[in-house]
Amino acid sequence: MRIFLAIAYFFKILFVGEKALINYAQQRAVGQAKDEPSAAKPEPTVAPVFHVSTTPAIQLLGLLQKEGRLIDFLQEDISPYDDADIGAAMRDIHGSCRKVLDKHFALKRILTELEGENVTIAAGFDPSRIEIQGDISRQEALTGAVLHGGWIATKADLPTVAEGADENVVAAAQVEVKA
């Protein structure tokens, strides 16, 4: 039991952080202290550990595939189909993939001006946030038309994954067993 707890604590620290662990240990202590037998009371158990994926990029592919079949679509040879068929399928794929995006990410425009509007960029801007195209020789503030407002993620929140899962799997193979 002790070894098990030690291992559980180790993973807790690894994945949940120390602060959560302290709370967790306190909860356990409280749980044990008042551990009189009572019919209506569930047995105290070690709270399970929830894992953050070690391969979040593959996990994201998996989410887009599960909800929106995006990997199937990208892997499919679409040359034999006419635009109407692709369009019809795309509506569904677009809607479902958008849901994944909305659920796990928060995206904001870097520049809120409409595309085509003029904007002044102060000197010393962050080139990872704003990409200047055209004449960039001057060192003072720059004025130009917005080509693309950019996107920045203000939240990225992927779900936890099961302990026993092979984290390289994008989509499990499916087999139907007939009765």
């Binding site: 709270a47 399970p48 994954v161 099961a162 026993g164």
Partner: protein
């Protein structure tokens, strides 16, 4: 005194919990977001918990897939992920367990679900499922509120549990028994349509008094996922204060929003089969139901769309190659939803009489007539008398329905404006025909979560901080008594029925019924049994009244039985006592007149099966 007041909607398709923290300043009703497994290894808190269970076979899920934040679990998963996994493995998936509570021919404590599944290890009883859902709520709640204070354990709080108004005494008792086994100690039952009214009152605060006046009659039309429930509430005045009295509830109608989506999907699947001889597999069918639900919502909210394309992506990895496209036409929606479930009918159009079937039938006794408006017409007609006793000015002509002055909708199905409008239009046409004013619709903001909210609000009302609806027992109950006339061969002996619980009997009251008039007696030392009936229509019988047996008015339930003492068999004269407890459950007792000893009369749920086996 518990710190929290809790309302639980243990729905056929979704479970929700709302609460009031008495230690908070404003004491408003809050919704508890219920943590549940949403994908293998991933838990999320959602506004409701789908009332579904998936029983793992042990090898199809990875380790830790269905763990909960508060404990490891490797066998049973409830809620969102159960529903998703269940669509892939239907033989291990249990849903709509509550529908089986009101089912006379099965024992809801027998492990019978999933019905028709060959996998014995996955079988659970409807009562088990209720207990599992309540236990999940308790664990989730305790993880949030009771980790450092045992007093905040959910089972120690004042809990109001909602049940369909149409539940009979047995179904109500089973619900309470399930909750008590989970450990709940401070329970009350509340009818769902009443909860919807409380939620409406809660949202308006004192302003509700401006929207209703003395003499109003409110019809609650509650179409949940699996059941449709009607109630009538009369507004009266006592000493200058408005009073609400629930005057009628409808029969148990197994017909709900889920049936509508399914009906649409089957309509489309049928079309695919006929026009293109394409047969859908179960996975595609599930996808089709989802797509139809979406298409329905889009088309019902915008009149200008005549058809909506549904695309079912290919089953294998070829998404576009295997895709099936079909148009869902407005005419199909019109035909299936509006004309099928909400037909514009005359006020005297009653549902088609169900055919009597054998008790052995495996499935649920779904309503045989899907026309909810026809069920409504019947309901309003049958309860005209009960209403007019209280509100004589609403008396309709003989055989016509009593017409409400206000309508409160409840249930997710009514998120579609068109369906609410159709019900209102139908009621208005009945009002026109009767030459009186049509009803107005009351605004209900939270159609999905109103029941849990209203139940929590009632907790506040109980402590004197709000108005309460008076109602009492929604049915009158009877025991059957065989006549003393000589039996004629080939005919069942003539029966009379004795009222043991009058309609409207208040919670927390008790009635003694003399067995003298009826000459009630029973053999001691062996099981004695009474036929048991109820009625939602006979509202004026008093306890002890003997009435002529009328099949149209009385619904037969499983019999009640008792064993009187252990001594040798001799005839004992008995009296009866009925208790309608504070919790809201019915207890029947036999009193041996000679010894004054009392014995419980229990519901015998196995009766019908036994009978069948003997044949």
């Amino acid at each position: 005194m518990s710190r929290f007041i809790v309302g639980i909607d243990l729905g056929t398709t979704n479970t929700a919990l709302a609460y009031v923290d008495k230690a908070s300043e404003d004491q408003t009703v809050q919704l508890f977001h219920i943590p549940q497994v949403v994908a293998p290894g991933s838990v999320e808190s959602l506004p409701s918990l789908p009332s579904t269970a998936y029983i793992s076979a042990g090898n199809e899920l990875v380790d830790g897939a269905i763990n909960l934040p508060w404990r490891s679990e490797d066998n049973v998963v409830l809620g969102s992920f159960a529903r998703e996994q269940g669509a892939k493995v239907p033989t291990r998936f249990i849903h709509s367990a509550k529908s089986w509570f009101g089912h006379n021919s099965i024992n809801p404590e027998d492990a019978i679900l999933p019905a028709n599944s060959p996998e014995e290890d996955a079988k659970r009883s409807p009562v088990d499922i209720a207990k599992m859902l309540l236990t999940h709520l308790r664990e989730a709640w305790n993880d949030e509120f009771a980790t450092d204070d045992e007093e905040h354990d959910l089972i120690l709080q004042e809990v109001t549990l909602c049940v369909p108004a149409s539940f009979d005494a047995n179904a109500r008792n089973l619900t309470v028994a399930a909750a008590e086994e989970v450990g709940f100690t401070n329970l009350h039952l509340l009818e769902e349509p009443q909860a919807a009214i409380y939620s409406w009152i809660e949202a308006l605060g004192d302003n509700w008094r401006k929207q209703l006046k003395k003499g109003d009659l409110v019809l609650v039309v509650d179409v949940g996922g699996g059941t449709s429930d009607f109630s009538l509430v009369a507004i009266t005045e006592e000493e200058g204060d408005l009073q609400l009295r629930r005057v009628a509830v409808g029969e148990h109608i197994l017909l709900g929003g889920d049936n509508m989506d399914l009906a649409l999907a089957y309509g489309v699947a049928q079309k695919l089969k006929q026009e293109r001889s394409k047969k859908l597999d179960t996975w595609q069918m599930a996808a089709l139901v989802q797509q139809c639900r979406k298409a329905k919502e889009i088309m019902l909210s915008d009149d200008s769309i005549d058809s909506h394309q549904i695309t079912l992506l290919g089953r294998g990895s070829s998404v576009i190659g295997g895709a099936i496209k079909i148009d869902l036409e407005r005419s199909t929606i019109q035909q299936v939803l509006l004309d099928g479930f909400f037909p514009e009918v005359e006020a005297d159009a009653w549902p088609a009489q169900p055919k009597r079937r054998g008790f052995r039938e495996q499935g649920l006794p779904y309503a045989s007539d899907a026309g909810i408006t026809r069920h409504l017409a019947k309901f309003l007609c049958q309860h005209a008398e009960a209403v007019t006793e209280l509100l004589p000015e609403l008396a309709p002509e003989e055989g016509q329905p009593v017409l409400p002055s206000a309508v409160l909708f409840n249930g997710g199905a009514f998120n579609a404006d068109v369906l609410r409008e159709r019900v209102m239009a139908t009621l208005n046409s009945w009002a026109d025909a009767a030459d009186c004013d049509g009803p107005r619709a009351l605004d209900q903001a939270k159609l999905d979560l109103a029941v849990a909210h209203g139940a929590a609000y009632l907790g506040l009302a109980r402590s004197g901080k709000g108005i309460r609806i008076r109602g009492g027992s929604a049915r009158s109950y009877y025991i059957g008594i065989e006549g003393a006339e000589p039996a004629v061969p080939g005919f069942a002996p003539p029966m009379t029925a004795m009222c043991v619980v009058p309609f409207g009997m208040e919670e927390g009251s008790s009635l003694d019924i003399s067995g003298d008039d009826a000459g009630l007696c029973i053999y001691t030392g062996e099981a004695g049994e009474f036929q048991f009936y109820s009625s939602t229509i006979r509202t004026s019988d008093k306890a002890g009244d003997l009435i002529e047996f009328d099949e149209g008015e009385l619904i037969e339930h499983n019999p009640v039985e008792t064993v009187l003492g252990e001594g040798k068999a001799e005839v004992a004269e008995i009296d009866l006592r009925s208790n309608f407890t504070e919790i809201g459950v019915l207890q029947l007792l036999c009193v041996n007149t000679a010894s004054q000893q009392t014995y419980n009369l229990e519901f015998n749920v196995r009766h019908h099966d036994d009978e069948q086996e003997q044949e």
